[in-house]
């Protein structure tokens, strides 16, 4: 090595050292976090409770010293204003508000558009509630992570639970909302179901308009077809309306209903939701979680949340807590790795890919692609003397690694390779 090359290398190292020193951030006075959530429109059934949860949980974190001694200060952005406006609000909060951490979004469409923007702006984006598996499978992001399961995990678990309940399933009909989630979730569900049980007959695929208020014709058709099982991944007002009209007309007596998102409607539907309906929760969130229901962590929060809002927490509330708790764990891990110095968002984004954390229910394990592995809980409705709405019985919890597409593979293809042995896999936990 010539002297010159040696000198050059030394200079290079010194420069690198300089960059690192510059990268060791001074601890900010407060940690600004932008949070997108639906405060208007139909999806505010998720967004408004989630905002209440964010306020409660941030208060809780700040009361116990914040993150590494820094208090969280949230700014909320309404997702209901539409994608274009959301994006400009997102940029405004990042650039003018000097915010380096965003929790976005509820809508899968919005996750798809904010993830690349976060990458451009170099802000850490925690996808706290959206379900689309495509966002992390189609592209590799450095700044985007997801602290919860994705649609594949949720749909595969729903199929497994259905086939466990009805091993001889012959016919199924679907009635989903006519938009991305309704279509995509059915594709995943159908591919999984047909991989495990190729002889199931799909007798109807109905996609009523998003926000439809009258399902009369759909219900008549389903009554005439008499499928054994009716699946609907609808949510919010649409799900409530459909369930109500179906139960008023006796459809729920003749077919078994599978409603993977109905945990968020249980309390609202009350007695309109009959017994014997398969209900999912987009994760393992349930205030009567068989393992954690007496855990003070869950119990205290449920009580606080009820005192504040008058309702039991629904899945978006748990997801919000996971987003914040994941962020906190990621920061603490990065601070530790940084020898106590305040980390850059890049370091946090890195740390968040190799950690485990616990929200209010089970542990979420993060993967190198930024995807969280979150267990799935499903059960069957049953009337209870203790609550004015049905609770879940015959609960089964599915470990996420069994039912989540491995890193580098694409879900629509991967689910086709699933084998029926999964239905009664020894690692499922039944309660």
């Amino acid at each position: 090595m010539s002297i010159l090359a040696f000198l050059r290398r030394v200079a290079g190292l010194a420069l690198a050292g300089l960059v690192v020193t510059a990268g060791a951030q001074t601890k900010p006075a407060e940690l600004k976090v932008g949070i997108t959530t639906f405060l208007s429109g139909p999806a505010s059934v998720f967004g408004v409770p989630a905002k209440a949860a964010a306020e409660l949980y941030i208060e809780q974190i700040n009361a116990s010293g914040g993150i590494g001694g820094v208090k969280i200060v949230p700014t909320f952005i309404d997702e209901g204003i539409g994608s274009d406006k959301l994006l400009s609000e997102y940029r405004r909060v990042v650039q003018e508000g000097d915010t380096k951490v965003m929790l976005a979004a509820i809508s899968s469409g919005n996750c798809n558009i904010v993830a690349p923007v976060a990458e451009d702006l170099k802000v850490l984006n925690v996808m706290w509630d959206c379900g689309t598996e495509k966002v992390l499978e189609d592209k590799r992001y450095r700044y985007a992570v997801r602290t919860q399961a994705n649609a594949t995990t949720e749909m595969v678990a729903s199929v497994l639970y259905l086939l466990r309940t009805k091993p001889d399933l012959k016919s199924i009909a679907v009635i989903n909302q006519d938009y991305a989630w309704g279509r995509d979730s059915w594709e995943l569900f159908r591919n999984t179901l047909l991989a495990m049980k190729p002889d199931v007959k799909i007798v109807a695929e109905l996609f009523p308009k998003f926000g439809a208020t009258d399902y009369s014709t759909e219900i008549s058709r389903l009554q005439a077809l008499r499928p054994e099982v009716i699946l609907s991944t609808a949510w919010g007002g649409d799900l409530d309306t459909f369930v109500r009209q179906a139960s008023q007309r006796g459809l729920m007596k003749s077919s078994l209903f599978v409603l993977p998102l109905a945990e968020s409607s249980l309390e609202r539907l009350g007695s309109a939701l009959p017994e014997g309906v398969i209900v999912g929760s987009r994760g393992d969130h349930y205030f009567l979680h068989p393992q954690h229901k007496d855990d003070p962590r869950l119990k205290t929060f449920v009580k606080k949340f009820r005192d504040k809002t008058g309702a039991y927490p629904i899945y978006s509330v748990y997801h919000m807590v996971q987003g914040l708790e994941g962020l906190k764990t990621g920061y603490e891990k990065a601070i530790k790795a940084n020898k106590g110095q305040w980390p850059t968002v890049e370091q946090v984004a890195e740390a968040m890919r190799t950690m485990e954390f616990r929200g209010l229910t089970g542990t979420v394990k993060m993967r190198e692609d930024g995807q969280g592995l979150e267990e799935q809980l499903l059960g069957i409705t049953k009337k209870s003397p203790d609550y004015p709405f049905p609770i879940l019985e015959k609960i089964v919890i599915y470990p996420a690694d069994l039912i989540t597409t491995p890193v580098g593979q694409k879900s629509p293809e991967w689910v086709k390779t699933l084998k029926p042995e999964l239905i009664n896999h020894p690692r499922l936990r039944q309660y």
């Binding site: 405060l39 208007s40 429109g41 139909p42 505010s44 059934v45 967004g47 408004v48 006519d178 695929e205 109905l206 996609f207 009523p208 308009k209 926000g211 208020t213 009258d214 009369s216 014709t217 759909e218 008549s220 058709r221 009554q223 005439a224 919010g236 007002g237 649409d238 409530d240 309306t241 109500r244 009209q245 008023q248 007309r249 006796g250 459809l251 609202r268 309109a272 309702a311």
Partner: protein, 301 residues
């Protein structure tokens, strides 16, 4: 197409057509008399439903029998129509009758957005519903398919009654004739001594009550969520435009047409169900730009 299916599709479309007709009726009435397309009309629908749900919740908390709903639903509509309809007419509409149509559209649309926020302020974002009346009235079986009596008898029955009452009111009562006169020629009616101000107020309040009534009647079968008024305004506009603005009988026929067409497509070609109302509208407007029932320069109400 099997006969059975035709019968079922007819019955499925009926309840939807009934609600659609009531909303469209209010909208077309205001257009007929005041020459304004009221974009805020969907808000009356939404408010009517919320009010009915609130009153229903209150009544069931008092332990009242679900049968009272039959009284509560119209009552909710009247309260909303009289309060919000009158408020909007006196503070807003009155000032813009003579203004440019574009301005009118913009102003009623902003009123719509104000109402939307007002709803969220009062009723929040969580879905509302009170459905005791539907279960109370029970179900009937037709060709092996279960229908609720409420959707098969109550909804179409009320819509038809409203239609007949309104028709005869306009034809035979003095007030009704004054409304028709104003719809023909505003200035001439003033010259003839008709209190146009009062007629406008009355028409607008009746229109608001009709919109709210549709909402109140739909509320026992539909979960009431923010944004429900916007959905309705689009659909009812399709009905009104298909019929021809200001056409009452036309609205009845167009509502039936669109309600039934939608239920038939769910049986035959479910993929295009969402599109059907607008396809019909476009087809009609292509060949009859003034709508199915408009007669050029004829009476509009």
């Amino acid at each position: 197409m099997p006969q059975e299916m035709i019968v079922l599709a007819l019955m499925d479309g009926l309840s939807q057509a009934a609600v659609l007709f009531l909303v469209a009726l209010g909208m077309t009435l205001v257009f007929g008399v005041m020459n304004i397309v009221n974009m805020a009309h969907g808000s009356f629908y939404a408010l009517g439903g919320y009010m009915a749900a609130s009153l229903g919740l209150w009544a069931s908390a008092q332990g009242a029998s679900p049968a009272w709903s039959l009284l509560i639903l119209p009552l909710a509509a009247i309260i909303i129509g009289c309060v919000f309809g009158a408020l909007m007419e006196t503070t807003l509409m009155r000032r813009i009758y003579q203004k440019d149509p574009i301005l009118q559209l913009l102003i009623t649309f902003s009123a719509f957005m104000i109402f939307e926020d007002l709803q969220r302020l009062i009723w929040g974002a969580q879905p509302y519903f009170v459905s005791e009346i539907v279960n109370y009235l029970g179900t009937v079986d037709v060709l092996g398919i279960t229908y609720t009596r409420y959707q098969l008898l109550v909804l179409p029955g009320i819509a038809l009654t409203v239609f007949i009452v309104l028709r005869s009111f306009l034809k035979f009562s003095s007030m009704g004739r004054q409304i028709v006169a104003v719809s023909h020629h505003r200035e001439m009616s003033t010259a003839l001594g008709i209190n146009v101000k009062r007629i406008s107020l009355l028409t607008f309040v009746v229109s608001a009550i009709l919109g709210a009534l549709a909402g109140a009647l739909a509320s026992p079968t539909v979960s009431w969520v923010p944004g429900i008024g916007g959905e309705m305004i689009v659909l009812s506009f399709a009905v009104v435009a298909t019929a021809g603005l200001g056409q009452i009988e036309g609205a009845l026929v167009a509502a039936l047409l669109i309600g039934l067409a939608r239920s038939f497509t769910v049986y035959l070609l479910p993929e295009i169900e969402v599109l059907v109302p607008f396809l019909i509208m476009v087809l009609v407007l292509l060949f009859r730009p003034q709508g199915l029932f408009s007669v050029a320069q004829a009476r509009r109400v």
